[in-house]
């Protein structure tokens, strides 16, 4: 055998060895992000591409804590098999759409990443959703309640859209005997624009209520003196306030200054202590949440206790989102028996068909989109309690 033939044989052997080792790595070992090759990897890498800084950092950071708690539980229980680890890699979208797009591309480009917890804001999520479908990476969004997010087989949402559980607020107002309502809404925030312009007026009409005033504002509106006085002058029975966190604090104080004494109802954005800075002005505020520490269900209570033990503070709805999203992914891996991207996608669909019980209670799904009943809470003296119309 000549030296040339020997070299060729050595080269072939090296290629064969590399292929074998490569296959072994994909099938059982690190990452496991490749497509549909079966089995559960020893370490499963999940990316969290959410705001860790910026205007809605509270949502991304809350989701991080919830996801970390879920990972602890999954690993401790050996839910995916003995010694199977989940590695959560965080990418900060910093409140910017362009950044969300580039960080998602980075995460999707890493073949070791099996699934993604997607951006929390609708604008960011809707921008990256088509990319997710093209790159075929299962992505579970939390929050991001607007349209254009759950649009293909690879996009999933663990937080129910606000309009799907806002009926409870209108039921509450009906029970309170409200006939005339005002709406003050941030028209540049997609979820609130949808609620303020379409859903709330439709729900009010169904209940025989009249929308006597509709006041749109922008994301940049900071002073609500004029709007508060308009609301007070109109004197409606209730105000549906659909504003982001700092706007709500200001609006509540200025509504009080303007002498408005009707019932104010708001949204889950006011949860997570975001309304605390309003002090006494926020007392009596009612809003629906997908999760509250006041929830009495067994799974919600268990989550609250475990969260308090790990972080020495009470969980907020964003933490519940992250927790349920991570458990959804874990259940998906177990259901399909496959931690690859394609395996997780199939598993997420399987779990969604059956639903599961998590921090937010019993989750059912409309396609890939979560649904829950939610609860109505009232803020009083710096604490949430379950709201009753009586």
């Amino acid at each position: 055998m000549g030296s040339g033939a020997l070299k060729r044989k050595a080269l072939l052997a090296a290629v064969a060895m590399t292929t074998v080792l490569g296959t072994a790595a994909c099938g059982s070992g690190d990452g496991g992000g490749s497509d549909g090759d079966g089995g559960i990897a020893d370490t499963i890498k999940i990316a969290q591409v959410q705001d860790q800084t910026g205007a809605v950092a509270y949502a991304g950071l809350g989701a991080s804590e919830g996801a970390e708690l879920a990972i602890d539980e999954i690993e401790e229980q050996g839910f995916l098999g003995d010694g199977v680890k989940i590695d959560l890699e965080k990418f900060d979208t910093a409140g910017e759409i362009e950044r969300a797009s580039s960080e998602m591309s980075k995460a999707m480009g890493d073949r070791g990443i099996s699934a993604i917890l997607g951006p929390v804001s609708t604008q960011q999520a809707a921008t990256v959703a088509p990319l997710v479908g093209r790159q075929k990476v299962p992505t579970v969004f939390t929050q991001a309640g607007g349209a254009g997010v759950v649009i293909n087989d690879y996009t999933f949402r663990a937080t129910p859209p606000m309009e799907s559980y806002y009926e409870s607020v209108m039921d509450y107002l009906e029970e309170k005997g409200a006939k005339k309502i005002s709406i003050l809404y941030n028209a540049t925030f997609p979820t609130f624009a949808l609620l303020g312009e379409d859903d709330v007026p439709a729900m009010a009409k169904d209940r025989g209520m009249e929308v006597v005033q509709s006041l749109p504002v922008q994301m940049t509106t900071q002073d609500f003196t004029g709007q508060a006085q308009q609301v007070a002058r109109e004197g409606s029975d209730a105000l549906v306030m659909l504003l982001i966190a700092p706007q709500s604090v200001t609006a509540l104080g200025q509504l009080e200054d303007a002498g408005y004494d009707g019932q104010v109802v708001a949204t889950s954005v006011q949860a997570a202590g975001n309304i605390k800075a309003a002090g006494d002005s926020a007392d009596g505020l009612v809003y629906p949440v997908p999760f509250s520490v006041a929830m009495e269900g067994e799974s919600s209570q268990a989550f609250t206790e475990a969260f308090k033990k790990k972080f020495d503070k009470e969980p907020n709805p964003y933490a519940a989102d992250g927790y349920d999203a991570m458990w959804w992914i874990a259940r998906a891996i177990k259901a399909s028996g496959d931690s690859s991207r394609e395996g997780i996608r199939k598993g997420l669909e399987q779990v969604a068909e059956e639903g599961f019980t998590g921090a937010m209670g019993d989750l059912t799904f409309d396609g890939n989109d979560a649904r829950i009943d939610g609860v109505l809470v009232q803020w009083n003296g710096g604490k949430e309690s379950l709201a009753t119309a009586g």
Partner: protein, 294 residues
């Protein structure tokens, strides 16, 4: 009438914020994009201190004013002055200072975002705003203080710049920095003093606005900086009286849009109005006409 009163309050808020920025830009030629962060961080320090010990109204104001002055002085010492020293001329330094300001602003913003998780923050104070009615008009004590403080600071600064020796020296720097240095004006010391005053004004605005709104977010300063930029350009760069008028014109336009319930058109209409005014008077309402030598 109530809407006029609301416009006066909003205009005074814009004015208090814009005054420091206008002073620095119109005299020592620094367009300080860290002004919004100084404003926010002064209020944030007020929040942190008042969280530990409940403070009266003036106590919070004092903490915020001192914090603003310190941040602004440090910004000048550690960022803008070194940039100016390393640049061939003021003209060469302008763009670097602008970028430097944005970089400086990112630090307090990140610190406040980290601490608050971008949730709104306010003060723990023994002060509680009261609402009083005069001739059917509702006004809070905070709004009254803001209107008085805005007008007093605006008119005071205008008079100081026009009538005092330091004001004359600052205006001389604004016209021709090199020649004024040659005439004995200590540019470095005046620049430092001007930045300190601007920072103190940012701190005052931060505290008063937080009292007025109940709470602000770490990003609030970024939103106000665009308004201040518009107010200064509308009033005419270099004219403090122009800044005063610009602030009330912008606030009146915004209040009118709100009165008409065109809430989402606030920025479009008010900035459109500014654009139209600048088409007719490119130098702004009270700005000097630029003389170009060829």
């Amino acid at each position: 009438m109530q809407d006029l009163l609301n416009a006066a309050t909003l205009g005074s808020i814009y004015l208090l914020f814009a005054l420091g920025m206008a002073l620095v830009w119109g005299t020592i030629g620094i367009l300080n994009f860290a002004h919004g962060a100084t404003f926010m961080f002064s209020a944030f320090v007020g929040h942190l201190v008042s969280r530990e010990t409940e403070l009266p109204f003036l106590g919070v104001i004092g903490v915020a004013v001192v914090t603003g002055a310190v941040i602004s002085t440090l910004t000048q010492l550690l960022a803008f002055q070194p940039i100016l020293k390393r640049s061939k001329s003021q003209h060469h330094a302008e763009m670097r200072i602008l970028i430097g300001g944005i970089g400086v602003a990112a630090i307090p913003l990140a610190l406040a975002q980290r601490e608050t998780r971008s949730s709104p923050f306010g003060f723990t104070s023994s002060y509680k705003a009261e609402v009083f009615e005069i001739l059917g008009l509702r006004l809070t004590t905070t709004s009254a203080v803001i209107i008085v403080a805005g007008l007093a600071m605006g008119i005071g600064l205008t008079l100081w710049l026009r009538r005092s020796r330091q004001g004359l020296a600052l205006r001389a720097i604004g016209v021709d920095a090199e020649t004024s240095s040659g005439m004995g004006v200590n540019r470095t010391a005046l620049a430092l003093g001007t930045m300190a005053v601007a920072g103190a004004l940012a701190g005052l605005a931060g505290a008063l606005l937080t009292f007025h709104l109940g709470a602000i977010a770490p990003e609030t300063g970024d939103q106000l900086i665009i308004k201040a930029f518009a107010v200064i350009v509308l009033g005419g760069l270099g004219s403090m009286l122009g800044t005063v008028i610009g602030a009330y014109v912008l606030a009146s336009a915004e209040t009118f849009v709100l009165y008409m319930n065109w809430g989402t058109w606030v920025d479009a209409v008010s900035f459109g109005l500014i654009f139209l005014i600048l088409l007719a008077r490119p130098q702004g309402l009270l700005g000097r006409k630029e003389v170009r030598r060829t």
